[in-house]
């Protein structure tokens, strides 16, 4: 039987996240993995711009807050200077797959030995619900009021699929935090991604399908259902790359 | 313009060793403890017909690194003659590779050293030293730098690249100097 124990890596902090948001779960998983791998004193994290900008208020290790989309470049600078440290980025969909697409693809293509935790909730959260690169066709946002796809927005960008063609990538998996089973699976994936870095295997990324009830304008329960019933169809869970 | 300052241009096709000539002159300046500023035309320009390098030599602190009105020009091909002849200062010195140019300079005021540099290089067994033949002619006539400094500059340059080429280049230098003896100048060059 699993007993719930608060990770010592998590700071004693009242959450600023909305009720039903997936970031809190993802933060906890990252903290637990850092604790279980016993790497807290080696970890250097990078915080994005977006809802998770205050990552350092929750996770108790060295963290640098970056400009929007730039965490993979900043992480590259850190990791190249300090190859013995464990460097991770924590980024949302706008950060990683819109304004920071170039940084993401090229860090992946160089095989930078870093770990990327990518939170995909298909919406811009912090700015109030605008279309994200991962917003699904037909999904309404404050900048696609009639649903994405009516006015030349194109379909959502699928990050794991996109990166899976790059030779130097060591590990890609898409997980979710919308059911207890998914949460356990997400933790296993995040742990594996960090382990890849520890083993010097190169770029690893875990895409986490996550809930944003506030900007989806639904209840937390319905948000969970939206991930399970809609998002998983467009963004199938699974391992997209696991290089030996 | 201070009296000690000499501005020159070396021009030809890309591949004729334009940069090398500029580099050797600059090295000779360092050896003789003269001030020197060298520059090579850069960027898109160097892909065109004419490659050129400029050198400013002075015993004083050098002001402008730009060479708009050179005192001397080493011209290795026809397009360079067309491009730079008009820029030379009155009574300036022009070294012309007659193997690769189709006409003498039009300007009557210029001091000219005409050397069939490519032909001489061919006779020496390597077309690529035509630039050094022309340089030899220029150094012999201009009194800007000592021939021994140029030799030392060449040795320094090739010792790291390809030491086997040092002798050939020094031979080319002297062949050019020898040929320039048949080119009397109208005015003495400083």
């Amino acid at each position: 039987m699993t007993t719930l124990k608060r990770s010592t890596i998590l700071k004693d902090q009242v959450t600023h996240y909305c009720p039903g948001c997936g970031h809190g779960i993802a933060h906890r998983l990252v903290a637990e993995v850092i604790e279980e791998l016993d790497i807290r004193e080696k970890v250097i994290g990078t915080a994005p711009v977006g809802c998770a900008v205050l990552l350092y208020n929750y996770i108790d290790c060295d963290i640098i807050e970056c400009a929007h989309g730039r965490p993979p470049a900043v992480a590259t600078g850190i990791k190249r200077v300090r190859p013995d440290n464990i460097v991770f980025t924590y980024q949302g969909d706008g950060d990683l797959a819109a304004i920071g697409t170039a940084e993401t693809i090229h860090a992946a293509n160089r095989g930078e030995n870093i770990t990327v935790i990518f939170i995909n909730n298909a919406i811009y959260g912090m700015t109030g619900g605008q279309m994200a690169p991962t917003t699904m066709l037909g999904m309404a946002s404050t900048t696609t009021p009639e649903g994405r796809g009516k006015h030349g927005e194109g379909p959502p960008l699928k990050v794991c699929e996109l990166l899976s063609s790059l030779q130097a990538v060591s590990y890609l998996e898409r997980v979710a935090v919308s059911t207890p089973k998914d949460v356990l699976s997400a933790k296993r994936a995040i742990k594996k991604a960090f382990q890849k870095q520890i083993d010097g295997k190169g770029f690893s990324l875990v895409e986490v399908l996550s809930m944003c009830p506030t900007d989806w304008k639904v209840s937390p329960e319905k948000a969970v259902a939206f991930v399970n019933d809609e998002m998983k169809k467009v963004f199938p869970l699974g391992v997209y790359k696991d290089a030996k | 313009m201070d009296a000690q300052s000499r501005k020159m241009i070396i021009a030809g096709f890309g591949g004729q060793g334009i940069v090398l000539v500029g580099n050797v002159i600059a090295r000779a300046c360092v050896i003789q403890k003269k001030n020197v500023v060298g520059m090579v035309a850069y960027g898109a320009e160097m892909r065109g017909g004419t490659a050129y390098a400029t050198v400013v030599v002075s015993d004083e602190e050098i002001g402008s690194p730009f060479v708009d009105c050179p005192d001397a020009a080493i011209i290795l091909n026809q397009p360079s003659l067309e491009k730079f002849e008009a820029d030379l200062r009155p009574n300036g010195l022009i070294v012309l590779n007659t193997s690769m140019t189709q006409r003498p300079p039009r300007r009557a005021d210029l001091n000219r050293i005409e050397v069939d540099a490519t032909q001489i290089a061919h006779e020496l067994g390597n077309l690529r030293v035509a630039n050094i033949v022309a340089l030899g002619a220029f150094i012999a006539k201009s009194n800007l730098l000592r021939m021994s400094s140029i030799e030392q500059g060449l040795s320094e340059l090739f010792s790291s690249k390809n030491p086997k080429l040092i002798d050939l280049n020094i031979q080319a230098l002297h062949a050019g100097a020898e040929r320039s003896r048949f080119c009397p100048l109208k005015t003495e060059q400083a």
Partner: protein, 359 residues
């Protein structure tokens, strides 16, 4: 004196950086500074450093942000359009108070412009460039020997004041070759150990490098005031210019970088011809050498500003001289450069000397 070697400006700067302990460089190709990344790519691995060819200028400056946070002496370089792209990152680095060195070998603008030398980025460099109230120490060398020394100093100032330092050159400074004495690096300041870097929180509380200040509500006001105090201190402590023949000069010519050395040659010749003319060549563009101008407004009668732009430093000269003297301008952007002759003509006309009086 050590032997002089012949190197290109871009190479001189890169070698000086390596000598000064720079161990991280990220950059992106752009003419006329391509020899900088090329040199670092060969040289840094020899000394255990890291060279990264970045996917963009934006990525390059952010890699430097990371490397600086990790404690390395770090550098990036570019030319005008590329430096525009770096402005976001520069603002963050200034806000986070991290040290780094940024070089701009300016080319013609605006837009893609051309690849000839120009000085159109003065405002961008000394007034801020990116968003927010911040400053860079901006250095304007006029010769390769000065470029070598100032590049080394740049790393010391960056570490000492914890801020980005910019080397503002141009395409000509980048491309010329001059003999340079590669003197060994000697720190000009005592640099405290870096107690702010991120290297994993072993045996200490975790650290955060951040630029978002939400809490307390007036925290960002306090942070800005802190930065301004630092900048005021720097303005008193870092202040370089070359004053040449200013004593007894009725006319002071002022120019920075390559036009500075051209102006000096023109002034030298004019002095030989008996004209009462002197020169101030600002070496630090921020802080601007105000004191030198405050001094000459008491003795000189006129000022002439020469720039390879349409008059940007001109504004700082007017401020520094408190608009006390008639000030004329000679300059154009887009690749124009002054000759010694054209500066001399301007000097003659301002001093009412007829052309015949010249030799």
């Amino acid at each position: 004196m050590a032997e002089k070697v012949l190197l290109k400006g871009n190479e001189v700067m890169a070698e000086a950086a390596v000598q000064a302990g720079c161990r991280f460089f990220a950059g992106y190709p752009i003419t006329p500074q391509n020899e900088v990344p090329e040199y670092f790519s060969r040289r840094l691995p020899q000394v255990g450093g890291v060279f990264v060819q970045a996917e963009s200028e934006v990525a390059a400056i952010n890699m430097v942000f990371g490397a600086a946070a990790a404690g390395a002496r770090a550098m990036t370089s570019s030319s005008s359009p590329g430096v525009s792209l770096k402005q976001e990152g520069i603002s963050y680095i200034a806000a986070a108070e991290l040290p780094c060195v940024i070089a701009n070998m300016q080319r013609g603008g605006p837009g893609l412009g051309n690849i000839r030398a120009a000085q159109g980025d003065y405002f961008q460099s000394v007034k801020g460039g990116g968003h927010g109230d911040y400053k860079l120490i901006v250095l304007a060398p006029a010769s390769l020997q000065e470029l070598y020394t100032l590049t080394m100093n740049a790393f010391d100032w960056a570490d000492y004041y914890r801020m980005p330092v910019m080397i503002l050159g141009d395409g000509i400074l980048a491309q010329i070759a001059e003999p340079v004495e590669l003197a060994p690096y000697k720190p000009i300041l005592e640099i405290a150990s870096k107690d702010y870097i991120l290297n994993g929180c072993k045996g200490r509380p975790s650290r955060v490098v951040k630029t978002l200040v939400l809490d307390p509500a007036d925290g960002l006001i306090a942070h800005n005031e802190h930065l301004q105090r630092k900048y005021r201190r720097i303005a008193e402590e870092v202040n370089l210019c070359e004053e040449y023949q200013t004593s007894g000069a009725e006319l002071i010519v002022t120019a920075y970088g390559i036009p500075g050395r051209i102006a000096k040659a023109a002034v030298r010749q004019a002095r030989k011809d008996g004209l009462p003319v002197g020169m101030i060549r600002p070496i630090t563009l921020w802080p601007f050498p105000d004191a030198a101008f405050a001094k000459v407004i008491k003795t000189a009668r006129q000022l002439l500003v020469v720039e390879m732009s349409h008059g940007q430093m001109l504004e700082d000269v007017k401020l520094a001289s408190q608009c006390a003297l008639p000030t004329e301008f000679l300059g154009k952007g887009g690749g124009w450069y002054p000759t010694e002759e054209i500066i001399r003509e301007k000097i003659d006309s301002m001093l009412n000397v007829s052309g015949r009086a010249r030799k």
